[in-house]
């Protein structure tokens, strides 16, 4: 589904990713762990198409198509989603209106009929229950006055609504208490199936305990230095990262 080959990229002429190779197949959940500044978020931003990052060499293919020249909205319509590390507040833009606009954009792209306001309300109320969010958040502006935990739940709510093929979870565990973490992880786990893939970016093992990734990769200084299964996460929790550094 996602195939990254020898990716070199950076920002303002500074190289951050120094040759990433990563293949994610349908149904797999991969986790990327690493310290601050190792390039984890850069990788997520490049896959989703944020401006100001330069790819100097390498390729990213999604379902066999090169996505590097695609606009961010086109990548999203093709099935790529990112749960933001810092979800953005958008004053004056109603959360429900935004969610419906996003879903309709996707339905239209697939040649399907757009959903009307009443049907959308029924749909979104179901999804809200899955992440244990109060309905009051629907009538607010996007992320406006949301606590850290509610913002992250709102990200997962969007994922459940838009049903992407590839979901990138950028530090979705940061700022969450234990209860919220469980709810978010449960939301992701219930959403997993043989068609959907995930890339979870995290510092900590605790999210992974709930999600049970198929593969764990350790990113140090822009390179994947080690890959393995759940046991690697446990090893990192005990030993830290220094034993992997050259």
């Amino acid at each position: 589904m996602l195939e990254i080959k020898n990716l070199h990229a950076g920002v303002d002429g500074k190289e951050i990713l120094k040759g990433i190779d990563l293949t994610i197949k349908p149904g797999e959940l991969h986790a990327i762990m690493g310290r601050n500044g190792s390039g984890k978020s850069t990788l997520a931003n490049i896959i989703t198409g944020r401006e100001n990052y330069e790819v100097t060499s390498g390729t990213i293919e999604f379902n066999g198509e090169n996505i590097l020249d695609m606009l961010p909205e086109v990548r999203a319509l093709e099935g790529i989603f990112m749960s933001f590390q810092y979800p953005v507040v958008i004053p004056g833009v109603n959360n429900t209106y935004f969610l419906r606009a996003a879903l309709n954009s996707k339905l239209k792209h697939r040649g399907l009929k757009e959903v009307n306001a009443a049907d959308f309300m029924r749909l979104i109320r179901e999804k809200l229950k899955l992440v244990e969010m109060d309905e009051k958040y629907l009538s607010r502006a996007v992320n406006d006055g949301f606590s850290g935990g509610e913002k992250k739940k709102n990200e997962i709510l969007q994922m459940l609504t838009l049903e992407p093929q590839l979901s990138i979870l950028d530090e979705t565990d940061s700022g969450l208490d234990i209860d919220a973490l469980k709810i978010v992880a449960q939301g992701v786990n219930n959403f997993r199936n043989s068609e959907r893939s995930f890339l979870a970016i995290t510092h900590y093992q605790r999210l992974l305990d709930h999600m049970k990734p198929d593969f764990i990769h350790v990113l140090i200084d822009g390179r994947i230095v080690k890959s393995g299964g759940m046991s690697l996460a446990q090893e990192l929790e005990q030993k830290g990262y220094s034993w992997l550094e050259a």
């Binding site: 944020r50 909205e73 933001f84 958008i90 606009a101 954009s105």
Partner: protein, 424 residues
């Protein structure tokens, strides 16, 4: 100046039978206008706006006899409202539709009983004097005590079908009696391709415990000049909710004065300015807290695209010995183009201790983080920008309580937005 003198002389000749006191006032006002002259760059309160176009354009007055046919469908008509219609400066009583409780008096009658309303003595604004000298549609709209008018009253000042460059000096007096309540829409619309000049003055008076929603819509043609002077006087416990939405005119200058003259008066004055191409919008607001326990809230937003420019100058004055004043003032501006320009100057002048005051101003562009966030959900860049910009304007529109007015304004703002975003 020659042209203004010529038009003034013609005006006096045309209305030679007019009441002598009013005639004296006109002469006095015109002399004052000549004495003050047009603002220039050295005048601090007027420095950011160039008035040479008005000075040199040779505008002439409009006469009732040359009025062309009035369009069947009046543009800008808002549903479920009463109507006062003025076309090219001429009041159309037959096409207007008023509730029984509202009287549109003859200007002269109101002038005789309220001469102070027409005083120009304390003003250095040349356009107020100019207006007073040639005010031709002086409409006093009078609401007596203890009357609640549920349906809004829409005053449409329409400029249409011009063959010559015309000027008009409309004068409105809105009087809301004790314990009375009303919603008044003061609506300027232009649909003509000829340049014109509207120089309007509105005096709005709220008696004890009166409540007024005042919606001012400025949708003049973009080839026009619109100069306005709005002053609100609030008596004890009266409440004003004012919203000014302006998208028209090449040159727009609006002076707003709010006088909180007696205890417990409160006012909210909001403004939204939408500019594109080479439009210039200049608004000066003075809020005068002259009594105890008064509140004032101001929120002015500008959305500027292309090469347009804006000026916001807001001043809150809290007079000596006043108590329990609560005042805030905020100016927020969104630049949609690197060539758009905004000049913002919020000021506080506080001469009392017992006050709660705040002010602030921000000017920025569309938040790139917000834009990426929306696009990452599959929303196109164009649509995402529209969402962000309409979100920026939303709190101003949300303050309009009446649903028909709100829906008119949001449609108008959205149409403007779609038009302006095409060039971004």
């Amino acid at each position: 100046m020659k042209q203004f003198q010529k038009e003034f002389d013609a005006f006096l000749e045309h209305f030679s039978e007019e009441n002598p006191a009013l005639r004296d006032l006109r002469l006095k006002a015109f002399n004052k206008f000549k004495e003050i002259g047009f603002p220039n760059k050295k005048w601090e309160e007027w420095q950011f706006t160039d008035f040479s176009l008005i000075k040199n354009s040779n505008f002439r007055l409009s006469w009732n006899s040359e009025l062309s046919t009035i369009p069947k469908n009046i543009p800008g008509r808002i549903q479920n409202t009463y109507l006062i219609l003025i076309v090219n400066g001429h009041y159309q009583p037959r096409l207007s539709h008023l509730p029984n409780e509202v009287s549109v008096e003859e200007g002269i009658k109101y002038f005789k009983s309220n001469p102070e309303v027409y005083s120009i003595d304390n003003s250095s604004n040349p356009f107020l004097s100019l207006n007073t000298s040639m005010m031709n549609s002086a409409l006093p709209i009078y609401i007596k005590n203890n009357i609640i008018i549920k349906k809004p009253l829409q005053v449409i000042h329409l400029t249409t079908d011009l063959s010559d460059k015309l000027m008009n000096h409309p004068r409105f007096n809105f009087h809301i009696g004790e314990n009375s309540e009303a919603t008044i829409i003061e609506h300027y619309i232009g649909s003509t391709s000829t340049s014109y000049f509207t120089n309007t003055v509105s005096k709005i008076n709220l008696e004890k415990n009166a409540r007024l929603n005042h919606i001012r819509l400025q949708e003049e043609d973009r080839a026009s000049n619109h100069i306005a002077d709005t002053s609100y006087t609030l008596d004890r416990e009266s409440q004003l909710e004012a919203t000014s939405i302006s998208s028209g005119s090449k040159l727009f200058r609006h002076n707003i004065k709010l006088s909180l003259n007696n205890e417990g008066a409160s006012a909210r004055i909001n403004g939204l300015s939408l500019t594109m191409k080479n439009q210039h919008h200049d608004q000066h607001i003075v809020v005068d807290h002259a009594s105890d326990s008064c509140q004032s809230h101001q929120l002015f937003k500008y959305i500027l695209s292309d090469r347009s420019s804006g000026v916001f100058n807001g001043k809150v004055i809290v007079r000596k010995k006043t108590k329990q004043t609560n005042a805030d003032q905020s100016n927020k501006n969104l630049l949609l183009s690197p060539n758009a320009l905004m000049n913002s100057n919020p000021q506080l002048e506080i001469y009392a201790d017992d006050v709660k005051c705040s002010h602030g101003s921000t000017t920025g562009q569309i938040d790139s983080e917000a834009l990426f966030y929306l696009r990452s959900r599959g929303i196109s860049k164009q649509k995402a920008m529209e969402l962000i910009v309409s979100g920026f304007a939303k709190d101003i529109i949300d303050h309009i309580k009446n649903i028909d007015i709100k829906s008119y304004v949001s449609n108008h703002a959205f149409t403007w937005l779609e038009g302006s975003m095409k060039n971004v």
